[in-house]
């Protein structure tokens, strides 16, 4: 009897809070309320975006979000998509798979977006595949793990734009072969990104006549990798491969310098931004890593199909957010949103939400020879990444500059 009453109290609060929630989200993002279907002929196309602008992957998520903000301004300034203004509803996942899942549901059910771009990390992406598939809404992920789009049969609604780790690893190993390196030591982050790289680095090494002589890891946020590197120093490794994002990679570079290790350091595309150079300082010198051509746009030949978009994107981004802020992560978001915009441009007028989502997915799969910042994309029913070869550049850092090692 007493606990009946408590039910009452409990439910009152829950409902009250929920109601508040309703209010806030309608006041929250400007005009971000549910669209009244075919109210005005040219109502906005709504796209959802989920990026990790705080938490472990924030240094990837922030440029991604900033890129999207910039593109929305540009597209709407240019009259939108066939006269439809573009509206992006953005939420911060705080690099949490669980939170990401709730937010994506919110985008689908409350904001009625037509497509979703992001999230930033592989873990978050894998966490929402089921959600978007059951809800029948296209997702263009900005995360590395190839498992996000394979097997395609189970990923009907899911696409992604960043290079697959497998391709990047292959690119590094091929380069090492040329350099005559046969023994490497790995030092990788235990995070989703680092572990993904580590797995492929270990499994694919033999294919290039390379043996992994030491396999060290560290925890995201660790403040020193000296012990791991000391262990590596005791092996016959001819090079160190570090798979992590900028901060941890910078510490590895610095600790190698401290330990006066002379063997070269190869890093992942996770350090493709200025943060790494500013963080590692002089220790960044001589670090080699593969990345999209974005970083070395100046020396990309005019003949290159990407040249134009690379130049424009870099110019616009740095004009808006300051020189040296460019990063390939923002590029991934650029490619993701562009693919969606292309698709939106081709869907017929006056579809209801569900039909529009289906149409957008179909159109994304049709995208051919789209020159993005990360590479040239040709999607197909059998390939939801669709990145064409030759999109990567091997880059060395020399006196704080990115040099393309052709």
């Amino acid at each position: 009897m007493r606990n009946y009453l408590k039910y009452a109290v409990v439910l009152v609060l829950v409902v009250a809070l929920l109601a508040l929630g309703g209010i806030s989200c309608s006041t929250g993002e400007e005009g971000g309320t549910t669209p009244t279907p075919s109210a005005t002929p040219k109502e906005a196309y709504k796209v959802g975006a989920v990026f990790a602008t705080t938490g472990a992957a924030s240094n990837l998520g922030v440029p991604e979000k900033q890129t999207v903000d910039m593109m929305v301004e540009q597209i709407n300034a240019a009259g939108g998509i066939n006269g439809h203004p573009l509206k992006v509803v953005f939420y911060n996942t705080e690099t949490s798979a669980e939170k990401c899942a709730t937010l994506v549901t919110r985008l689908i059910e409350q904001d009625n977006v037509l497509a979703i771009i992001g999230p930033t990390t592989s873990g978050e992406s894998l966490a929402i595949i089921d959600t978007v598939t059951t809800a029948k809404i296209p997702l263009v992920s900005c995360a590395a793990n190839i498992g996000i789009v394979t097997p395609v049969s189970e990923r009907y609604w899911v696409f992604k734009t960043p290079q697959a780790d497998k391709d990047v690893v292959a690119y590094i190993y091929r380069y090492m072969q040329q350099q005559g390196i046969t023994k490497v030591a790995l030092v990788t982050d235990v995070s989703s990104f680092g572990a993904g790289g580590r797995g492929i680095l270990k499994s694919d090494a033999s294919g290039y006549g390379i043996t992994v002589v030491d396999d060290q890891t560290f925890t995201t946020g660790d403040t020193s990798m000296q012990s791991q590197l000391t262990h590596i120093k005791g092996t016959a490794a001819q090079a160190v491969i570090c798979w992590a994002t900028d901060k941890e990679s910078a510490i590895v570079a610095q600790d190698m310098k401290t330990l006066q290790m002379t063997i070269p350091l190869y890093c992942s595309h996770g350090i493709a931004n200025m943060n790494f150079i500013t963080a590692a300082g002089t220790a960044a010198n001589g670090v080699i890593f593969p990345a999209g051509k974005l970083l070395v746009v100046d020396v990309v030949p005019a003949s290159d199909p990407q040249k134009e978009v690379l130049v424009k994107y870099k110019a616009d981004y740095e004009a808006k957010y300051g020189t040296g802020t460019i990063s390939t992560f923002g590029g991934h978001a650029y490619d993701a949103l562009s693919v969606v915009v292309i698709a939106l441009g081709k869907i017929p007028e006056g579809l209801d939400t569900a039909a529009a989502r289906t149409a957008v997915r179909a159109q994304i799969e049709q995208v051919t020879n789209f020159a993005g910042t990360g590479g040239v994309f040709t999607m197909s029913p059998t390939d939801h990444l669709g990145m064409q070869p030759g999109s990567l550049a091997m880059i060395e850092i020399v006196d704080g500059e990115w040099i393309w090692l052709k």
Partner: protein
């Protein structure tokens, strides 16, 4: 493992240990006086680092003033945290107070994220960045600064607690708040001092370690956790115990990497360190129980 390597492991371990110790000190001071585990301690360290970065790099202040200013501001933050959040919570139980410190940590981190952005920053090194050779091992000059600071801070703290009026009052309050209030020591004033002191030490730590380990709005989370473990190993007893805990933690982690046996690669180093913590706690609890019976 060669002798040189072994020394190197120890050197790296001691460096890390000193970092953990500097964070652990703050935990210990506040816990001893207020019985509150201050989850915002890591954020104090973060503030020290970020402030010194802003003052040194952006405002172009020379090292000394940047150092002092950062520490003072951090101490002020700690004090105001006590006055605004902890002291105003009158009827709050210790658990509620702990949750308040968690709230404070999230708040400070959130503000920092907005003010400084999310990318890592590095204040200038105190003295160069060419590593120094030492018994066949190498050590970064900044690491020497960190170890030195830890030693100095610990000694000063020890002297402060043993020989000054305020210090003795703090100690008394730590041992028995009720009794000490009877002899005219105001626990609230002591708590205020404890928070300011802990924040200041956190700030000092942040300033000296930032050039080596870099700083960003979120470093407080991991450092706070390690510092807590350090303090826990030390039993939240005395500053010296906390430093011992920090060093032990650092060295265990380093040697765990060195061992590298079987499946236990370096990815288990944190786990191994925590197992050590658990063992120490269990062993101590035996003693604790005995003491309790005796008292």
């Amino acid at each position: 493992m060669s002798a040189d390597q072994f020394v190197q492991y120890l050197v790296s371990g001691v460096t890390q240990g000193s970092i953990y110790a500097l964070v652990g000190l703050g935990f210990t001071i506040i816990y001893a006086v207020t019985r509150v585990i201050n989850f915002a301690q890591g954020e104090f360290v973060m503030l020290g680092g970020m402030l010194s970065f802003t003052l040194a790099r952006s405002a172009g202040l020379p090292l000394a003033p940047a150092f002092i200013l950062s520490v003072l501001i951090t101490a002020a933050v700690g004090a105001s945290m006590y006055v605004l959040a902890i002291r105003t919570a009158k009827r709050a139980s210790v658990v509620s107070l702990i949750i308040i410190t968690i709230g404070a940590a999230i708040f400070i981190r959130g503000i920092a994220g907005v003010l400084w952005g999310v990318e890592p920053d590095r204040p200038p090194f105190f003295t160069g960045h060419e590593s120094i050779s030492f018994l066949g091992a190498y050590i970064h000059p900044q690491a020497l600064w960190i170890i030195g600071t830890t030693i100095v801070v610990t000694i000063i703290l020890h002297l402060f607690l043993s020989y000054t009026m305020v210090g003795k009052a703090l100690k008394a309050c730590a041992i028995n708040p009720v009794a000490s209030s009877l002899v005219g020591v105001n626990p609230r004033t002591m708590a205020l001092i404890a928070f300011a002191l802990a924040a200041a030490i956190g700030g000092i730590g942040g300033v000296v370690m930032a050039p080596l380990i870099m700083t960003s709005y979120s470093v407080g989370v991991m450092l706070g956790l390690k510092g807590f473990v350090a303090a826990a190993i030390g039993g939240f007893k005395s500053p010296v115990a906390a430093v011992f805990g920090g060093l032990l933690l650092g060295i265990v982690e380093s040697l765990a990497v060195a061992a590298n046996w079987g499946p236990f690669t370096s990815s288990y180093k944190d786990a191994i360190a925590l197992v050590v913590l658990l063992l120490i706690l269990l062993i101590r609890s035996g003693k604790l129980a005995a003491e309790e019976k005796a008292s």
